[in-house]
Amino acid sequence: MSAEHNPTPLLAARDIRKNFIIKDDRSPAQTLKAVDGVSLEIAPGEVVGVVGESGCGKSTLGKTIMRMYEPDGGSLLWKGEDMTGVSGTDLKTIRKDMQMIFQDPYSSLNPRKKVKDIISQPLRVHAQGDKEEIARRTEEVMREVGINPVYGRRYPHQFSGGQRQRIGIARALALEPDFVVCDEAVSALDVSIQAQILNLLLDLKDKHGFANLFISHDLSVVEFISQRILVMYLGRIVEKAPKVELMAEPLHPYTRALLAAFPTADPSKRSAKKQIVVGDVPSPLNPPTGCHFHPRCPLATDRCREAYPPLVEVSPGREVSCWEVSGG
């Protein structure tokens, strides 16, 4: 329902939903609403960060947008065309332009395949030229991510974590996609390697101009790489804002709590008594009524306990879902 600020977004999700049915032998089946009505737009070449704590649905959102999970509701528009019900060859054509980079560089690469075969697989699947052309493109993309092509005959276990993540990036970029989802792409790496990989992603983005949905629990990483940030809590977006505005003045009480909780790497700014949010994240299986954040929220009123506040645009490009902030 939000106002659009881009004439044709590269990708738009409208009220997207993804449920999981949780069953065990003792209790009746329950529905976990992992993504519960999320709308977002990504412009060509834009980097949008998604931040939230475990169980907030950020990874499910990424996979649903890629249609690795089938959405249970809502629609997805790819370059203005509905891709929700698309299947077969048409879906394959769209997928060529959307790729994903995963968190764990150990489990996301097939240990029994040579690196050059891992990287060239998307080229072969989408029949991008003959053998020589594919080999040439594979070497080119390996050089781009900083892996010497002479190592193409090695296996994933012969590389370090950072190098493996470069291999994952090469595989994602081999087809020159327009859109890349990074799901915790640097979270498993040591910080000196994390910085190398983030810089590499930015270099490649500048060169190729792909749009990026960057999913992470780490606010500082999301802040560094993104132009806009979406904050998620228990399956819903609670705040959307351009990065600079969000960091300067977070509006939603949860965003404020997240920013306050994040340690700053500057001991002279150590605050004596920080405002730390109380309590745990509730189970997404059984979220609180009304606004999901109300049990932990310092501003909560009766209204928050009764009804979920809609995302309301409070200034251009800035939306927040809170009765106390936007008034509804």
Binding site: E53, S54, S160, G162, Q163, D190, V191, S192, I193, Q194, A195, Q196, L198, N199, L202, D203, H217, D218, L219, S220, V221, E223, F224, A257, L258, A260, A261, F262, P263, T264, A265, D266, P267, S268, K269, R270, K274, I276, V277, V278, D280, V281
Partner: protein, 332 residues
């Protein structure tokens, strides 16, 4: 150092594996004073956890070998202590909490029973009394409804609550002197991390214990530590009070580590992060030179040949580098 709680001199720990000898910790000197928080920082494989295991004598032997060194705790050499005495020290005067509380709590006992066990073992209390004390401790670590929670099993608690229960267990002694916290908040969400860090510093004040905080997160260091020791590939490269270290790092690795954090002040509005080239060397093939030499911008020929002796920059700032960053250069 008058009020030394723990002193480590020239500690070297190796692991003899089939592929060769891994020198996990080399010639480490470290001091912790009564009541202070010392952060031991570095990336994976730098030897920070092995150091903690050496202090508690929990290095698996074999394959581990303590090649040399002395570890003094309030004047007693821990490495030559009989195992029986070491056992009574562990969990009473030196306690430890780990990254993943689920794997360090016993899944088939209630958390109340597990905490009570510490009192039964170390203070020879009866079961009932020990359980009452356990409930008091759960209250101290701010677990809501402690009497009921004491009867919960670990899997019934959230990650944050489990870590609180671990902390309660670590406090279950008459006079905890040193708590070793090995990545205590790494597995937790950031709002829960903030709660646990605040709890740890409150308890530290209240009980008067020292904290050895092992972490890779410079943000956590900046928020909690009094002093910081930086390790790289088994070596301590720098050791300084926290504000001094952040404002005035002398070792190029420390400067690099600070610079490549996304939240570092120098990266605000920067187009690219400051980064360190290359990756951590293989501990199997380390030579006698400085292990950071192949990634260092300040590298000189002697860096390849020998690891530098430590130098002092001021009274409490120690670093080991042949070609350090000049002291005045980084002040902001």
């Amino acid at each position: 150092m008058t009020d030394e709680l723990l002193g480590i001199d020239n500690l070297s720990v190796s692991f003899h594996t089939r592929r060769g000898v891994v020198k996990a910790v080399r010639n480490l000197n470290l001091n912790i004073r009564e009541g202070e928080t010392l952060a031991l920082v570095g990336e994976s494989g730098c030897g920070k956890s092995v150091t903690a295991h050496a202090i508690t004598r929990l290095v698996p032997m074999p394959p581990g070998v303590i090649e040399s060194g002395i570890i003094r705790f309030r004047g007693t050499d821990l490495l030559s202590l009989p195992e029986k005495d070491m056992r009574s020290l562990r969990g009473s005067k030196i306690s430890m909490i780990f990254q993943e509380p689920m794997t360090s709590l016993n899944p088939v006992f209630t958390i109340g029973a597990q905490i009570a066990e510490v009192f039964i073992t170390h203070e020879k209390l009866g079961k009932k009394e020990a359980f009452t004390r356990a409930v008091e401790l759960l209250d101290l670590v701010k677990i809501p409804d402690p009497a009921k929670r004491a009867k919960s099993y670990p899997h019934q608690l959230s990650g944050g609550m489990r870590q609180r229960a671990m902390i309660a267990m670590a406090l279950a002694s008459p006079e905890p002197g040193l708590m070793i916290a090995d990545e205590p908040t790494t597995a937790l969400d950031v709002t829960i991390q903030a709660q646990i860090l605040q709890l740890l510093s409150e308890l530290k004040e209240r009980v008067g214990m020292a904290l050895l905080l092992i972490t890779h997160d410079m943000g956590v260091v900046a928020e909690t530590a009094d002093r910081v020791a930086v390790m790289y590939a088994g070596r301590k490269v720098e050791d300084a009070p926290v504000e001094e270290l952040f404002a005035n790092p002398r070792h190029p690795y420390t400067a690099g580590l600070l610079g490549c954090q996304c939240s570092a002040p120098s990266n605000q509005n920067a187009a690219r992060l400051t980064s360190i080239n290359g990756s951590v060397p293989d501990l199997l093939t380390l030579g006698e030179g400085c292990p950071f030499a192949n990634r260092c911008d300040n590298v000189k020929s002697e860096c390849m040949e020998s690891f530098p002796d430590s130098s002092m920059a001021g009274e409490e700032h120690e670093f080991s580098c042949h070609n350090p960053i000049s002291g005045s250069g980084a002040s902001s």
